[in-house]
Protein backbone atom coordinates (compact mmCIF):
# COMPACT_ATOMS: atom_id res chain seq x y z
CA UNK A 1 0.00 0.00 0.00
CA UNK A 2 2.10 2.87 -1.26
CA UNK A 3 -0.31 5.56 -0.08
CA UNK A 4 0.24 4.68 3.57
CA UNK A 5 4.00 4.53 3.35
CA UNK A 6 4.41 7.89 1.60
CA UNK A 7 2.00 9.91 3.72
CA UNK A 8 4.24 10.40 6.78
CA UNK A 9 7.30 11.36 4.75
CA UNK A 10 5.17 13.62 2.55
CA UNK A 11 3.78 15.31 5.62
CA UNK A 12 7.26 15.68 7.04
CA UNK A 13 8.49 17.17 3.80
CA UNK A 14 5.59 19.59 3.79
CA UNK A 15 6.31 20.47 7.42
CA UNK A 16 9.97 21.13 6.68
CA UNK A 17 9.02 23.22 3.65
CA UNK A 18 6.75 25.24 5.90
CA UNK A 19 9.58 25.60 8.38
CA UNK A 20 11.87 26.82 5.61
CA UNK A 21 9.36 29.50 4.70
CA UNK A 22 8.90 30.44 8.35
CA UNK A 23 12.47 31.77 8.31
CA UNK A 24 11.58 34.66 6.02
CA UNK A 25 8.12 35.18 7.49
CA UNK A 26 9.04 38.01 9.91
CA UNK A 27 10.61 39.99 7.08
CA UNK A 28 7.69 39.38 4.72
CA UNK A 29 5.11 40.31 7.35
CA UNK A 30 7.05 43.48 8.16
CA UNK A 31 7.44 44.43 4.50
CA UNK A 32 3.78 43.78 3.74
CA UNK A 33 2.50 45.71 6.75
CA UNK A 34 4.78 48.72 6.60
CA UNK A 35 5.81 49.06 2.99
CA UNK A 36 3.54 47.24 0.56
CA UNK A 37 0.09 47.63 2.15
CA UNK A 38 0.52 51.38 2.87
CA UNK A 39 1.60 51.95 -0.72
CA UNK A 40 -1.18 49.78 -2.14
CA UNK A 41 -3.66 51.63 0.04
CA UNK A 42 -2.59 54.90 -1.61
CA UNK A 43 -2.71 53.44 -5.10
CA UNK A 44 -6.17 51.93 -4.58
CA UNK A 45 -7.38 55.11 -2.88
CA UNK A 46 -6.40 57.07 -5.97
CA UNK A 47 -9.00 55.11 -7.94
CA UNK A 48 -11.78 55.32 -5.37
CA UNK A 49 -14.41 57.94 -4.70
CA UNK A 50 -14.99 59.06 -1.06
CA UNK A 51 -17.95 56.68 -0.80
CA UNK A 52 -15.87 53.70 -1.95
CA UNK A 53 -16.77 53.34 -5.64
CA UNK A 54 -14.21 52.79 -8.34
CA UNK A 55 -13.59 56.01 -10.25
CA UNK A 56 -11.13 57.88 -12.39
CA UNK A 57 -12.28 61.24 -11.02
CA UNK A 58 -9.23 61.67 -8.75
CA UNK A 59 -6.85 60.98 -11.61
CA UNK A 60 -8.80 63.37 -13.83
CA UNK A 61 -8.63 65.97 -11.05
CA UNK A 62 -4.84 65.79 -11.33
CA UNK A 63 -5.19 67.51 -14.68
CA UNK A 64 -6.61 70.68 -13.16
CA UNK A 65 -4.41 73.73 -13.87
CA UNK A 66 -3.06 74.24 -10.32
CA UNK A 67 -2.00 70.61 -9.89
CA UNK A 68 -0.60 70.35 -13.39
CA UNK A 69 1.41 73.46 -12.59
CA UNK A 70 2.80 71.81 -9.44
CA UNK A 71 3.73 68.68 -11.39
CA UNK A 72 5.33 70.79 -14.07
CA UNK A 73 7.47 72.72 -11.55
CA UNK A 74 8.51 69.47 -9.86
CA UNK A 75 9.32 67.76 -13.14
CA UNK A 76 11.26 70.78 -14.39
CA UNK A 77 13.23 71.01 -11.14
CA UNK A 78 14.02 67.30 -11.15
CA UNK A 79 14.97 67.28 -14.84
CA UNK A 80 17.23 70.30 -14.60
CA UNK A 81 18.99 69.17 -11.42
CA UNK A 82 19.31 65.64 -12.82
CA UNK A 83 20.89 66.83 -16.08
CA UNK A 84 23.14 69.45 -14.49
CA UNK A 85 24.01 67.05 -11.67
CA UNK A 86 24.89 64.41 -14.24
CA UNK A 87 27.03 66.78 -16.26
CA UNK A 88 28.89 68.33 -13.32
CA UNK A 89 29.25 64.98 -11.55
CA UNK A 90 30.57 63.36 -14.70
CA UNK A 91 33.12 66.15 -15.25
CA UNK A 92 34.28 65.92 -11.64
CA UNK A 93 34.51 62.12 -11.70
CA UNK A 94 36.30 62.15 -15.07
CA UNK A 95 38.74 64.78 -13.82
CA UNK A 96 39.56 62.71 -10.74
CA UNK A 97 39.71 59.30 -12.45
CA UNK A 98 41.28 60.16 -15.80
CA UNK A 99 42.70 63.65 -15.37
CA UNK A 100 46.21 62.73 -14.25
CA UNK A 101 45.75 64.56 -10.95
CA UNK A 102 47.39 63.47 -7.67
CA UNK A 103 46.07 60.11 -6.44
CA UNK A 104 44.90 61.23 -2.99
CA UNK A 105 42.35 63.48 -4.65
CA UNK A 106 40.27 60.51 -5.74
CA UNK A 107 39.74 59.13 -2.25
CA UNK A 108 39.01 62.59 -0.89
CA UNK A 109 36.42 63.34 -3.57
CA UNK A 110 34.72 59.95 -3.11
CA UNK A 111 34.59 60.27 0.68
CA UNK A 112 33.25 63.79 0.46
CA UNK A 113 30.66 62.65 -2.08
CA UNK A 114 29.46 60.03 0.39
CA UNK A 115 29.01 62.76 2.99
CA UNK A 116 27.45 65.38 0.71
CA UNK A 117 24.99 62.98 -0.93
CA UNK A 118 23.62 62.30 2.56
CA UNK A 119 23.73 65.93 3.67
CA UNK A 120 20.23 66.81 2.55
CA UNK A 121 17.08 68.02 4.21
CA UNK A 122 16.74 70.92 6.60
CA UNK A 123 20.44 71.56 7.39
CA UNK A 124 21.30 71.83 3.69
CA UNK A 125 18.75 74.62 3.33
CA UNK A 126 20.36 76.43 6.28
CA UNK A 127 23.81 76.12 4.72
CA UNK A 128 22.63 77.74 1.50
CA UNK A 129 20.68 80.47 3.28
CA UNK A 130 23.79 81.47 5.23
CA UNK A 131 25.81 81.47 2.00
CA UNK A 132 23.55 82.87 -0.70
CA UNK A 133 20.69 84.35 1.33
CA UNK A 134 20.24 88.10 1.58
CA UNK A 135 22.94 88.43 4.25
CA UNK A 136 24.82 85.26 3.32
CA UNK A 137 28.57 85.01 3.05
CA UNK A 138 28.86 85.05 -0.74
CA UNK A 139 26.17 87.73 -1.11
CA UNK A 140 27.98 90.02 1.34
CA UNK A 141 31.44 89.33 -0.09
CA UNK A 142 30.25 90.00 -3.64
CA UNK A 143 28.74 93.27 -2.49
CA UNK A 144 31.70 94.46 -0.43
CA UNK A 145 34.58 93.26 -2.59
CA UNK A 146 33.20 93.25 -6.11
CA UNK A 147 30.50 95.87 -5.72
CA UNK A 148 27.92 93.46 -7.11
CA UNK A 149 24.60 93.09 -5.35
CA UNK A 150 23.48 89.70 -6.65
CA UNK A 151 19.95 90.30 -5.40
CA UNK A 152 19.74 93.53 -7.39
CA UNK A 153 20.63 91.73 -10.61
CA UNK A 154 17.83 89.21 -10.23
CA UNK A 155 19.20 86.38 -8.09
CA UNK A 156 17.05 85.10 -5.27
CA UNK A 157 17.80 81.94 -3.33
CA UNK A 158 14.13 81.40 -2.47
CA UNK A 159 13.13 80.78 -6.08
CA UNK A 160 13.29 77.95 -8.57
CA UNK A 161 16.90 78.73 -9.54
CA UNK A 162 18.01 78.92 -5.92
CA UNK A 163 16.34 75.61 -5.11
CA UNK A 164 17.93 73.97 -8.15
CA UNK A 165 21.34 75.26 -7.06
CA UNK A 166 20.73 73.80 -3.60
CA UNK A 167 19.56 70.41 -4.90
CA UNK A 168 22.76 70.08 -6.93
CA UNK A 169 24.60 69.83 -3.60
CA UNK A 170 23.31 66.26 -3.18
CA UNK A 171 22.76 65.45 -6.86
CA UNK A 172 26.35 65.96 -8.06
CA UNK A 173 27.90 63.75 -5.33
CA UNK A 174 25.42 60.95 -6.03
CA UNK A 175 26.43 61.09 -9.70
CA UNK A 176 30.12 60.97 -8.74
CA UNK A 177 29.53 57.90 -6.55
CA UNK A 178 27.64 56.01 -9.26
CA UNK A 179 29.66 56.97 -12.33
CA UNK A 180 33.17 56.50 -10.89
CA UNK A 181 33.02 52.68 -11.12
CA UNK A 182 31.78 53.02 -14.71
CA UNK A 183 34.73 55.28 -15.56
CA UNK A 184 37.06 52.78 -13.91
CA UNK A 185 35.58 50.18 -16.25
CA UNK A 186 36.85 51.99 -19.35
CA UNK A 187 39.73 49.78 -20.34
CA UNK A 188 43.06 51.35 -21.16
CA UNK A 189 43.35 49.03 -24.14
CA UNK A 190 40.36 50.72 -25.79
CA UNK A 191 42.04 54.07 -25.62
CA UNK A 192 45.35 52.63 -26.86
CA UNK A 193 43.63 50.76 -29.67
CA UNK A 194 41.80 53.93 -30.69
CA UNK A 195 44.97 56.00 -30.74
CA UNK A 196 46.88 53.33 -32.69
CA UNK A 197 44.12 53.53 -35.29
CA UNK A 198 44.71 57.27 -35.40
CA UNK A 199 41.83 58.55 -33.30
CA UNK A 200 42.20 61.89 -31.57
CA UNK A 201 41.11 62.44 -27.97
CA UNK A 202 37.68 63.87 -28.86
CA UNK A 203 37.17 61.09 -31.41
CA UNK A 204 37.94 58.45 -28.77
CA UNK A 205 35.36 60.01 -26.46
CA UNK A 206 32.72 60.44 -29.14
CA UNK A 207 33.09 57.01 -30.77
CA UNK A 208 34.29 54.71 -28.00
CA UNK A 209 33.96 55.99 -24.44
CA UNK A 210 30.63 57.79 -24.60
CA UNK A 211 28.78 54.98 -26.43
CA UNK A 212 29.98 52.59 -23.70
CA UNK A 213 29.10 55.02 -20.90
CA UNK A 214 25.85 56.18 -22.45
CA UNK A 215 23.51 53.73 -20.66
CA UNK A 216 25.21 54.49 -17.32
CA UNK A 217 24.89 58.23 -17.85
CA UNK A 218 21.26 58.11 -18.88
CA UNK A 219 20.39 55.60 -16.19
CA UNK A 220 21.98 57.70 -13.48
CA UNK A 221 20.14 60.74 -14.77
CA UNK A 222 16.89 58.84 -14.25
CA UNK A 223 17.96 57.92 -10.72
CA UNK A 224 18.84 61.56 -9.95
CA UNK A 225 15.44 62.57 -11.29
CA UNK A 226 13.68 60.27 -8.84
CA UNK A 227 16.03 61.37 -6.08
CA UNK A 228 15.05 65.02 -6.36
CA UNK A 229 11.40 64.35 -7.17
CA UNK A 230 10.77 62.74 -3.79
CA UNK A 231 12.70 65.32 -1.75
CA UNK A 232 10.57 67.49 0.53
CA UNK A 233 12.44 68.80 3.57
CA UNK A 234 15.08 70.84 1.74
CA UNK A 235 12.49 72.63 -0.40
CA UNK A 236 10.19 73.30 2.53
CA UNK A 237 12.95 74.65 4.76
CA UNK A 238 14.27 76.82 1.94
CA UNK A 239 11.27 78.29 0.22
CA UNK A 240 8.44 77.50 2.63
CA UNK A 241 5.32 77.62 0.52
CA UNK A 242 6.89 80.00 -2.01
CA UNK A 243 7.25 77.27 -4.55
CA UNK A 244 4.50 74.71 -5.09
CA UNK A 245 6.18 71.38 -5.72
CA UNK A 246 4.12 68.18 -5.77
CA UNK A 247 5.59 66.80 -2.53
CA UNK A 248 5.02 70.14 -0.78
CA UNK A 249 1.42 70.13 -1.99
CA UNK A 250 1.01 66.58 -0.74
CA UNK A 251 2.56 67.52 2.60
CA UNK A 252 0.02 70.34 2.99
CA UNK A 253 -2.76 67.97 1.97
CA UNK A 254 -1.76 65.39 4.59
CA UNK A 255 -1.38 68.05 7.27
CA UNK A 256 -4.93 69.12 6.49
CA UNK A 257 -4.01 72.69 5.61
CA UNK A 258 -6.04 72.41 2.43
CA UNK A 259 -8.53 69.73 3.30
CA UNK A 260 -10.78 70.00 0.32
CA UNK A 261 -10.56 66.43 -0.91
CA UNK A 262 -8.53 63.66 0.74
CA UNK A 263 -8.74 61.51 -2.37
CA UNK A 264 -6.91 64.17 -4.30
CA UNK A 265 -4.05 63.48 -1.88
CA UNK A 266 -4.12 59.83 -2.95
CA UNK A 267 -4.00 60.88 -6.58
CA UNK A 268 -1.06 63.25 -5.93
CA UNK A 269 0.84 60.47 -4.18
CA UNK A 270 -0.04 58.03 -6.96
CA UNK A 271 1.30 60.51 -9.52
CA UNK A 272 4.56 60.69 -7.58
CA UNK A 273 4.88 56.89 -7.47
CA UNK A 274 4.26 56.66 -11.21
CA UNK A 275 6.97 59.22 -12.00
CA UNK A 276 9.63 57.94 -9.58
CA UNK A 277 8.73 54.37 -10.53
CA UNK A 278 9.17 55.10 -14.22
CA UNK A 279 12.48 56.87 -13.56
CA UNK A 280 13.76 53.90 -11.55
CA UNK A 281 12.62 51.44 -14.18
CA UNK A 282 14.63 53.37 -16.78
CA UNK A 283 17.59 53.28 -14.40
CA UNK A 284 17.37 49.50 -13.89
CA UNK A 285 16.95 48.70 -17.59
CA UNK A 286 19.82 50.98 -18.64
CA UNK A 287 22.00 49.66 -15.84
CA UNK A 288 21.61 46.13 -17.12
CA UNK A 289 22.62 47.34 -20.57
CA UNK A 290 25.61 49.16 -19.10
CA UNK A 291 26.84 46.06 -17.30
CA UNK A 292 27.25 44.27 -20.61
CA UNK A 293 30.37 46.30 -21.32
CA UNK A 294 31.57 47.37 -17.93
CA UNK A 295 32.71 44.23 -16.21
Amino acid sequence: MPAVSTTPSGARRRASALLTWAGVLPFLVFAVLFLILPTLNIVIGAFRSPDGHATFDNIIALFSPSILAAFWVSIKLSLITALLGCLAGFLLAAAVVLGGLPGWLRGTVLTFSGVASNFAGVPLAFAFISTLGRVGLVTVLARDWLGVNIYAIGFNLLTFAGLALTYLYFQIPLMVLIITPALDGLKREWREAASILGATGPQYWRMVALPVLWPSLLGTAALLFANSFGAVATAMALTGSNLTLVPIKLFAQIRGDVLNDPHLGYALAFGMIVLTGAANLIYIVLRMRAERWLK
Partner: protein, 262 residues
Protein backbone atom coordinates in the same frame (compact mmCIF):
# COMPACT_ATOMS: atom_id res chain seq x y z
CA UNK B 1 48.73 66.04 -21.88
CA UNK B 2 49.09 69.49 -20.32
CA UNK B 3 45.60 70.40 -21.53
CA UNK B 4 43.96 67.43 -19.85
CA UNK B 5 45.57 68.21 -16.49
CA UNK B 6 44.55 71.84 -16.80
CA UNK B 7 40.88 71.14 -17.51
CA UNK B 8 40.74 68.43 -14.85
CA UNK B 9 42.24 70.81 -12.33
CA UNK B 10 39.71 73.46 -13.31
CA UNK B 11 36.79 71.01 -12.87
CA UNK B 12 38.04 69.97 -9.44
CA UNK B 13 38.65 73.57 -8.41
CA UNK B 14 35.19 74.67 -9.55
CA UNK B 15 33.57 71.79 -7.67
CA UNK B 16 35.66 72.62 -4.63
CA UNK B 17 34.34 76.20 -4.63
CA UNK B 18 30.73 75.05 -5.04
CA UNK B 19 30.96 72.48 -2.26
CA UNK B 20 33.20 74.41 0.11
CA UNK B 21 31.53 77.84 0.10
CA UNK B 22 28.21 76.70 1.65
CA UNK B 23 30.16 74.93 4.38
CA UNK B 24 32.25 78.04 5.01
CA UNK B 25 29.12 80.18 4.79
CA UNK B 26 27.22 78.23 7.43
CA UNK B 27 30.25 78.10 9.69
CA UNK B 28 31.01 81.84 9.43
CA UNK B 29 27.35 82.71 9.89
CA UNK B 30 27.11 80.54 13.00
CA UNK B 31 29.95 82.57 14.60
CA UNK B 32 28.28 85.96 14.17
CA UNK B 33 25.68 85.87 16.92
CA UNK B 34 27.50 88.44 19.08
CA UNK B 35 27.72 91.81 17.38
CA UNK B 36 31.16 92.91 16.24
CA UNK B 37 33.06 89.75 17.12
CA UNK B 38 33.25 86.09 16.16
CA UNK B 39 32.12 83.79 18.93
CA UNK B 40 30.66 80.36 19.59
CA UNK B 41 27.66 82.00 21.24
CA UNK B 42 25.17 80.39 18.82
CA UNK B 43 26.50 76.93 19.70
CA UNK B 44 26.29 77.73 23.41
CA UNK B 45 22.69 78.87 23.00
CA UNK B 46 21.76 75.79 20.95
CA UNK B 47 23.53 73.25 23.13
CA UNK B 48 22.03 74.63 26.35
CA UNK B 49 18.54 74.82 24.86
CA UNK B 50 16.47 72.16 26.68
CA UNK B 51 14.44 71.68 23.49
CA UNK B 52 17.62 70.80 21.62
CA UNK B 53 18.65 68.33 24.28
CA UNK B 54 15.32 66.52 24.42
CA UNK B 55 14.75 66.41 20.65
CA UNK B 56 18.32 65.35 19.91
CA UNK B 57 18.21 62.64 22.55
CA UNK B 58 14.85 61.49 21.16
CA UNK B 59 16.22 61.20 17.62
CA UNK B 60 19.34 59.47 18.85
CA UNK B 61 17.33 56.84 20.75
CA UNK B 62 15.08 56.37 17.71
CA UNK B 63 18.14 55.92 15.50
CA UNK B 64 19.68 53.35 17.85
CA UNK B 65 16.46 51.33 18.15
CA UNK B 66 16.05 51.51 14.36
CA UNK B 67 19.54 50.10 13.95
CA UNK B 68 18.86 47.23 16.38
CA UNK B 69 15.51 46.45 14.79
CA UNK B 70 16.94 46.74 11.27
CA UNK B 71 19.74 44.34 12.19
CA UNK B 72 17.29 41.88 13.74
CA UNK B 73 15.21 41.85 10.59
CA UNK B 74 18.02 41.99 8.00
CA UNK B 75 20.62 39.54 9.28
CA UNK B 76 18.39 36.47 9.87
CA UNK B 77 16.48 37.08 6.62
CA UNK B 78 19.55 37.58 4.46
CA UNK B 79 21.17 34.54 6.09
CA UNK B 80 18.12 32.34 5.68
CA UNK B 81 17.61 33.35 2.04
CA UNK B 82 21.24 32.55 1.23
CA UNK B 83 21.10 29.24 3.03
CA UNK B 84 17.66 27.84 2.24
CA UNK B 85 15.77 29.98 -0.27
CA UNK B 86 18.22 31.28 -2.87
CA UNK B 87 15.35 31.35 -5.37
CA UNK B 88 13.63 33.98 -3.27
CA UNK B 89 16.65 36.31 -3.34
CA UNK B 90 15.58 38.53 -6.28
CA UNK B 91 12.15 39.01 -4.68
CA UNK B 92 13.57 40.02 -1.30
CA UNK B 93 16.15 42.23 -2.97
CA UNK B 94 13.42 43.95 -4.95
CA UNK B 95 11.42 44.60 -1.78
CA UNK B 96 14.44 46.08 -0.01
CA UNK B 97 14.99 48.46 -2.93
CA UNK B 98 11.37 49.66 -3.00
CA UNK B 99 11.96 52.41 -0.39
CA UNK B 100 14.28 54.07 -2.90
CA UNK B 101 11.49 54.06 -5.47
CA UNK B 102 8.53 55.08 -3.34
CA UNK B 103 9.06 58.58 -1.92
CA UNK B 104 9.10 58.63 1.92
CA UNK B 105 6.22 61.10 2.00
CA UNK B 106 4.03 58.59 0.17
CA UNK B 107 4.95 55.82 2.63
CA UNK B 108 4.09 57.97 5.64
CA UNK B 109 0.86 59.05 3.95
CA UNK B 110 -0.01 55.38 3.61
CA UNK B 111 0.71 54.83 7.32
CA UNK B 112 -1.56 57.69 8.29
CA UNK B 113 -4.40 56.37 6.15
CA UNK B 114 -3.91 52.72 7.11
CA UNK B 115 -3.18 53.01 10.84
CA UNK B 116 -5.29 56.01 11.84
CA UNK B 117 -7.55 56.01 14.88
CA UNK B 118 -10.55 54.62 13.00
CA UNK B 119 -8.69 51.66 11.49
CA UNK B 120 -8.27 48.04 12.60
CA UNK B 121 -4.78 48.73 13.94
CA UNK B 122 -5.01 52.29 15.35
CA UNK B 123 -1.29 52.89 15.82
CA UNK B 124 -1.44 56.68 15.47
CA UNK B 125 -3.86 56.88 18.40
CA UNK B 126 -1.35 56.24 21.16
CA UNK B 127 2.13 57.40 22.15
CA UNK B 128 3.57 53.90 21.90
CA UNK B 129 1.82 53.21 18.61
CA UNK B 130 3.07 56.39 16.96
CA UNK B 131 6.62 55.70 18.10
CA UNK B 132 6.42 52.14 16.83
CA UNK B 133 5.12 53.45 13.52
CA UNK B 134 7.99 55.93 13.11
CA UNK B 135 10.42 53.20 14.15
CA UNK B 136 9.05 50.86 11.47
CA UNK B 137 9.09 53.72 8.97
CA UNK B 138 12.74 54.46 9.65
CA UNK B 139 13.53 50.76 9.41
CA UNK B 140 11.88 50.74 5.98
CA UNK B 141 13.93 53.79 4.94
CA UNK B 142 17.15 52.10 6.11
CA UNK B 143 16.31 48.75 4.50
CA UNK B 144 18.03 49.44 1.15
CA UNK B 145 21.29 50.21 2.92
CA UNK B 146 21.13 47.80 5.84
CA UNK B 147 19.90 44.72 3.97
CA UNK B 148 22.21 45.18 1.01
CA UNK B 149 25.21 45.76 3.26
CA UNK B 150 24.47 42.54 5.16
CA UNK B 151 23.77 40.58 1.96
CA UNK B 152 27.07 41.73 0.45
CA UNK B 153 28.83 40.81 3.68
CA UNK B 154 27.34 37.31 3.61
CA UNK B 155 28.63 36.79 0.09
CA UNK B 156 32.18 36.87 1.43
CA UNK B 157 31.66 33.98 3.87
CA UNK B 158 30.77 30.36 3.35
CA UNK B 159 27.36 30.33 5.00
CA UNK B 160 26.55 26.66 4.43
CA UNK B 161 29.83 25.29 5.82
CA UNK B 162 29.75 27.59 8.84
CA UNK B 163 26.19 26.49 9.57
CA UNK B 164 26.97 22.79 9.27
CA UNK B 165 30.06 23.17 11.44
CA UNK B 166 28.05 24.98 14.10
CA UNK B 167 25.21 22.46 13.90
CA UNK B 168 27.54 19.48 14.26
CA UNK B 169 28.83 21.12 17.43
CA UNK B 170 25.25 21.24 18.66
CA UNK B 171 24.39 24.89 18.10
CA UNK B 172 20.78 25.97 17.60
CA UNK B 173 19.59 28.62 15.16
CA UNK B 174 19.83 31.50 17.63
CA UNK B 175 23.35 30.53 18.61
CA UNK B 176 24.39 30.20 14.98
CA UNK B 177 23.02 33.64 14.13
CA UNK B 178 24.33 35.44 17.18
CA UNK B 179 27.72 33.76 17.58
CA UNK B 180 28.69 32.64 14.09
CA UNK B 181 26.92 34.72 11.44
CA UNK B 182 26.66 38.12 13.15
CA UNK B 183 30.37 38.39 14.07
CA UNK B 184 31.23 37.54 10.47
CA UNK B 185 29.08 40.30 9.00
CA UNK B 186 29.64 42.78 11.82
CA UNK B 187 31.52 45.21 9.56
CA UNK B 188 28.62 45.26 7.10
CA UNK B 189 26.11 45.69 9.91
CA UNK B 190 28.14 48.61 11.29
CA UNK B 191 28.35 50.25 7.85
CA UNK B 192 24.60 49.97 7.48
CA UNK B 193 24.15 51.18 11.05
CA UNK B 194 26.15 54.39 10.63
CA UNK B 195 24.34 55.21 7.40
CA UNK B 196 21.03 54.57 9.15
CA UNK B 197 22.09 56.87 11.95
CA UNK B 198 22.96 59.64 9.50
CA UNK B 199 19.57 59.29 7.81
CA UNK B 200 17.43 59.04 10.93
CA UNK B 201 19.01 61.73 13.10
CA UNK B 202 17.78 64.70 11.05
CA UNK B 203 14.77 63.10 9.33
CA UNK B 204 11.91 65.56 8.93
CA UNK B 205 8.95 64.27 6.90
CA UNK B 206 8.02 61.17 8.94
CA UNK B 207 8.45 62.95 12.25
CA UNK B 208 6.56 66.09 11.19
CA UNK B 209 3.59 64.23 9.71
CA UNK B 210 3.34 61.88 12.70
CA UNK B 211 3.58 64.90 15.05
CA UNK B 212 6.72 63.77 16.86
CA UNK B 213 9.09 66.31 18.41
CA UNK B 214 12.33 64.89 17.10
CA UNK B 215 15.47 66.70 15.98
CA UNK B 216 14.30 67.24 12.38
CA UNK B 217 11.15 69.24 13.21
CA UNK B 218 13.13 71.11 15.89
CA UNK B 219 15.69 72.22 13.29
CA UNK B 220 12.86 73.20 10.94
CA UNK B 221 11.19 75.28 13.65
CA UNK B 222 14.48 77.00 14.51
CA UNK B 223 14.95 77.85 10.84
CA UNK B 224 11.71 79.78 10.81
CA UNK B 225 12.20 81.57 14.10
CA UNK B 226 15.90 82.23 14.74
CA UNK B 227 18.74 83.87 12.84
CA UNK B 228 22.08 82.36 13.84
CA UNK B 229 21.17 79.15 15.62
CA UNK B 230 20.12 77.34 12.39
CA UNK B 231 23.64 77.71 11.02
CA UNK B 232 25.07 76.26 14.20
CA UNK B 233 22.60 73.36 13.88
CA UNK B 234 23.60 72.86 10.24
CA UNK B 235 27.26 72.68 11.27
CA UNK B 236 26.38 70.12 13.95
CA UNK B 237 24.31 68.07 11.47
CA UNK B 238 27.11 68.16 8.91
CA UNK B 239 29.63 67.06 11.54
CA UNK B 240 27.37 64.11 12.43
CA UNK B 241 27.02 63.07 8.78
CA UNK B 242 30.77 63.37 8.32
CA UNK B 243 31.45 61.35 11.46
CA UNK B 244 29.11 58.57 10.31
CA UNK B 245 30.76 58.34 6.89
CA UNK B 246 34.21 58.46 8.50
CA UNK B 247 33.27 55.61 10.82
CA UNK B 248 32.05 53.53 7.85
CA UNK B 249 35.44 53.98 6.18
CA UNK B 250 37.20 53.20 9.42
CA UNK B 251 35.37 49.92 10.10
CA UNK B 252 35.71 48.74 6.51
CA UNK B 253 39.44 49.49 6.56
CA UNK B 254 39.70 47.72 9.90
CA UNK B 255 38.02 44.64 8.45
CA UNK B 256 40.76 44.21 5.86
CA UNK B 257 43.22 43.49 8.64
CA UNK B 258 40.95 41.39 10.81
CA UNK B 259 39.80 39.06 8.04
CA UNK B 260 41.42 35.66 7.93
CA UNK B 261 43.15 34.85 4.66
CA UNK B 262 41.82 31.78 2.93
Amino acid sequence: MMGRRFWSGLAVFGSFLYFFLPLLGMFMFSLRMKRGELSFEAYRVVLTDPQFQTTFLYSMILALITIVFGTLISVPTAYWVRLKLPKLRPVIEFITLLPLVIPPIVIVFGYIRLYNTSSVLPLTGSWLGTNLLVLFGYTVLSLPYMYRAVDTGLRAIDVATLTEAAQSLGAGWVTILAQVILPNVLVSVLSGAFLTFAIVIGEYVFAALLNLNTFGPYMFWMGGNRAYEPSALAVIAFAITWACMGLIQLVSRFSKFSQVKR
